[in-house]
C-alpha cells in the first residue's frame, strides 16, 4: 500500500498524485492513441461517441458533482452547440473557428439562463432548465430558415489545416483531443480558487457565503462553463451524427447526461468518463441481448428510457458514489488485503439537511 508523504503544498494540488498515476494514465493514453490501428471501424465509432458524451459529462460533472446544481436542459445546450457549429460551417467559416465559437455561444446562453434563476435555490435551476430545454427544442423545429426543421440539416465535412475530418477515425481523434483539453481545463479549474469556491457552495451555501463567496456569480460561472463544454460536445456531436434532426435534443437526452454524472459517481472527473461509457454502451448491450431476454422484454418500446431511470434509482439508493466509488472500493480492498473491514465504507447515518430559510 502506497503512503504519500507530502512535504509541500504543491504536492497537495498536483494534477497527478504520484508517479504511479503518471505511468498508468500515460499507458492508457498510448493505448487510446493506437486503438484505431487495432480495433475495427465500428468500435472506433462507438468510442468516439463515448468521448463526445464524456465531454458533455465532464461539463455536467462540474455543475452537478462539484457545484451541487442540477440541470435538466443540457440536451438543449448540446443542440445549440451542434446547430451553431453546423450553420457556421455551412457559411464557410473554418472548423477551428466554429468549434470554439459554438462553445462560447453556448456558454453565453448558459449564463443568460443561469443569471436570473440562480438567485433562487438550486431547485429553480432544475425547473428553469427543463422549461428552457423544451423552448429550445421548439425553436429548433420551427425556425426552419436556419435549422431546416424536420427536414434535417446536413453537416458539412470539417477541415483542420487542410485535412478533412472524415469517418470514425477522424471524429475519434478530434473528440479525443477536445476531451483531453476539457479534462485538463477542469482539473486545473478545480484546484484553483474558483473550483474551491464551487465545492464550497456545494457543501454549504451558507458557510460559503459567510466566507465571502459571491454565490450568484460563482453559480452562474459554473453553469456557463458547464454549458460551454456541452456546446463543444454538441459541435462534435453534429459531425458524429452528420445529419441534425431537431427532435434529437429532448429531455431524455438530458436525463442521459445526468445518468452519466450519477452513475459515474458525483464529484469525480473519472466518474464522468466511466458514466459516459455506461450510457453509450448500455443501448449497444440491450441491442445484443434483446432477442435472448424472456417474455419479450427486449422488444418493449419504452425499455431504454426505463433502464436509464432504473439505473438512476438504483445508484442513488444503493451506491451514491457510483462506478467511481465501486472502483475505489475495489482498489482499497486489494490494497488492504486481507484487512478490509466491514466498517470501511459504511455510510454514515444522515439526517435531513434543510435548505429552507427560516
Amino acid at each position: 500500500m502506497r503512503h504519500l508523504f507530502r512535504t509541500q503544498y504543491q504536492q497537495d494540488i498536483a494534477l497527478f498524485r504520484h508517479n504511479g498515476d503518471r505511468f498508468w494514465y500515460g499507458l492508457l493514453m498510448l493505448v487510446i492513441l493506437i486503438a484505431p490501428a487495432i480495433l475495427g471501424e465500428f468500435y472506433i465509432g462507438e468510442l468516439g461517441g463515448v468521448f463526445i458524451f464524456a465531454i458533455a459529462g465532464v461539463g455536467l460533472m462540474l455543475l452537478v458533482g462539484y457545484t451541487g446544481l442540477i440541470s435538466l436542459g443540457h440536451a438543449a445546450f448540446l443542440g445549440i452547440g451542434a446547430y451553431v457549429n453546423a450553420v457556421l460551417l455551412a457559411q464557410g467559416v473554418p472548423f477551428l473557428v466554429t468549434l470554439p465559437l459554438a462553445g462560447a455561444f453556448t456558454a453565453l446562453c448558459g449564463a443568460a439562463i443561469g443569471r436570473p434563476t440562480l438567485r433562487m435555490s438550486g431547485l429553480y435551476l432544475a425547473i428553469a432548465t427543463l422549461a428552457f430545454g423544451s423552448i429550445v427544442g421548439t425553436v429548433f423545429q420551427k425556425w426552419t430558415a436556419v435549422t431546416g426543421g424536420f427536414d434535417g440539416f446536413a453537416v458539412p465535412t470539417p477541415y483542420v489545416f487542410g485535412i478533412a475530418i472524415e469517418g470514425a477515425t477522424g471524429i475519434y481523434y478530434v473528440s479525443l483531443a477536445v476531451l483531453v483539453l476539457v479534462l485538463w481545463v477542469s482539473a486545473n479549474l478545480l484546484r484553483s480558487p474558483t473550483g474551491r469556491a464551487m465545492v464550497a457552495i456545494r457543501d454549504s451555501e451558507v458557510s460559503a457565503q459567510s466566507m465571502g463567496i459571491h454565490l450568484a456569480r460563482y453559480k452562474t460561472l459554473a453553469f456557463a462553463i458547464s454549458a460551454g463544454m456541452t456546446g463543444l460536445a454538441g459541435a462534435l456531436f453534429a459531425h458524429y451524427v452528420r445529419y441534425l434532426a431537431p427532435d434529437a435534443f429532448d429531455v431524455l437526452l438530458s436525463v442521459q447526461f445526468l445518468t452519466i454524472v450519477f452513475v459515474g459517481g458525483l464529484g469525480s472527473l473519472r466518474g464522468a468518463i466511466l458514466g459516459a461509457m455506461f450510457v453509450r454502451l448500455l443501448p449497444q448491450f440491450i441491442a445484443i441481448v434483446r432477442d435472448d431476454l424472456p417474455f419479450g422484454i427486449g422488444r418493449l418500446p419504452g425499455l431504454e428510457p426505463s433502464l436509464f431511470g432504473l439505473s438512476l434509482v438504483l445508484v442513488i439508493l444503493f451506491q451514491p458514489a457510483g462506478l467511481n466509488g465501486m472502483w475505489l472500493k475495489a482498489k482499497a480492498w486489494f490494497q488492504a488485503f486481507p484487512f478490509k473491514r466491514q466498517a470501511s465504507f459504511r455510510r454514515q447515518k444522515s439526517y435531513a439537511r434543510s435548505e429552507r430559510l427560516r
Binding site: T117, L258, P301, V313, I316
Partner: protein, 293 residues
C-alpha cells in the same frame, strides 16, 4: 357580442385546464412544504391514477363515482408506500439526488404503465362526457365545468382538513418545524408518508377530472412541466398560489392558442415560467424568509 362570448369561453376552457395544472402543482407544493423534496414524478403518478380509474371503471365495470373514489384511494396508498419504501431512504442526501430519483421513478412508471395498459390512448365514459350546458347563450362543456367544480370542492375539503382536523394540524406542524413536531409527539415520518398519499390522491383526482377532456395515455405526465410554471408563479410553497398560478397559466395558454400561430401554444407555459423567474423569481405569493445561522 360574438367576440365577448368567444373570450368568455376561452377563459372557462383556460380555467379548466388551469385547474388541472393547479392540482398537479398542489401535489408538488404539499410535498415541498413538508419534506423539501420536489416530486418530478407527480405527472406520472397522475397518469397511473388515470389508468387505475380506467381499469376499475372499464375493466371491472364499476360505476364512475365508485371507481373514481376507489382509484383515488389506491393511488393514495401507492403514494404512501412510495415514500415509506423508497424516498425515505434518501433523507439527508442533497436535494438534487431527490430530483434525479423521482425523475428516474417517473421513467419506470411510464414503462410499467406501457407494459400494463399499452401505449394507446384510452378513455372511459363519465357523466360529463360530450354534454354541454347553455348559460344565457354561452355554450360550455360540462367536462370543463366539472373540472372547475371538482377543484373548488377539493380545495374546500383540503382547507377544512388542514385547519379543523387533528391530523391536518399535525401535518401543518410537521411541515413548519420537524424537530418541534417530534418533541410534541407527532409521528413525523408517518405524517410525511400521509402527505405523499394526499398528494398522490390529488394527482389521481386530476387524472380522473382530465379524462373527459383529453384521453389517458402513457405520456400525459408531461403536463407536469406546466404545473411547474403554476407552482413557480404561486411561489412554490403556497397552496392557494399554486391554484391561482395554474389558472393563470391555463388562461394565458388558451389565448396564446387563439392569437398566436400554431405550435406556440405548447411553449407558452415555459415562456411564462422563464419570464416569471426573470421578473419575480420568488413568485406572486412568496413568504419572506431569512436565515439564522
Amino acid at each position: 357580442m360574438e367576440d365577448a362570448a368567444r373570450i368568455l369561453q376561452l377563459i372557462v376552457n383556460g380555467a379548466a385546464s388551469g385547474c388541472i395544472y393547479g392540482l398537479i402543482a398542489l401535489g408538488f407544493v404539499l410535498i415541498y412544504k413538508a419534506t423539501e423534496m420536489v416530486n418530478f414524478a407527480q405527472g406520472d403518478i397522475m397518469m397511473l391514477g388515470g389508468f387505475a380509474a380506467f381499469s376499475l371503471i372499464t375493466w371491472l365495470g364499476l360505476p364512475y363515482w365508485v371507481g373514481g373514489l376507489l382509484a383515488i384511494i389506491i393511488t393514495a396508498a401507492f403514494g404512501y408506500l412510495l415514500d415509506a419504501v423508497v424516498l425515505r431512504r434518501v433523507i439527508g442526501q442533497p436535494q438534487f439526488a431527490v430530483v434525479m430519483l423521482t425523475l428516474g421513478l417517473g421513467f419506470i412508471f411510464r414503462a410499467a404503465a406501457g407494459i400494463t395498459w399499452g401505449y394507446d390512448s384510452v378513455g372511459f365514459n363519465t357523466p360529463f362526457t360530450n354534454k354541454t350546458v347553455d348559460i344565457g347563450g354561452l355554450v360550455l362543456g360540462e367536462d370543463n365545468l366539472s373540472i372547475i367544480v371538482g377543484t373548488v370542492l377539493l380545495c374546500i375539503v383540503l382547507y377544512l382538513f388542514f385547519s379543523k382536523t387533528r391530523l391536518g394540524v399535525a401535518m401543518q406542524a410537521a411541515s413548519q418545524n420537524q424537530l418541534a413536531a417530534y418533541y410534541m409527539g407527532i409521528p413525523v415520518r408517518t405524517i410525511f408518508s400521509l402527505i405523499w398519499a394526499i398528494s398522490a390522491g390529488v394527482a389521481c383526482l386530476a387524472g380522473i377530472l382530465l379524462s373527459p377532456v383529453s384521453m389517458i395515455d402513457v405520456n400525459m405526465g408531461g403536463l407536469a412541466i406546466k404545473a411547474f410554471a403554476a407552482a413557480v408563479i404561486g411561489g412554490f410553497g403556497s397552496i392557494p398560489g399554486s391554484l391561482i398560478g395554474g389558472v393563470i397559466v391555463g388562461i394565458v395558454e388558451q389565448f396564446a392558442g387563439y392569437k398566436l400561430p400554431a405550435g406556440f401554444q405548447e411553449v407558452t407555459s415555459n415562456v411564462v415560467l422563464l419570464g416569471m423567474l426573470l421578473i419575480r423569481p420568488q413568485g406572486l405569493f412568496a413568504e419572506r424568509m431569512g436565515k439564522r445561522v
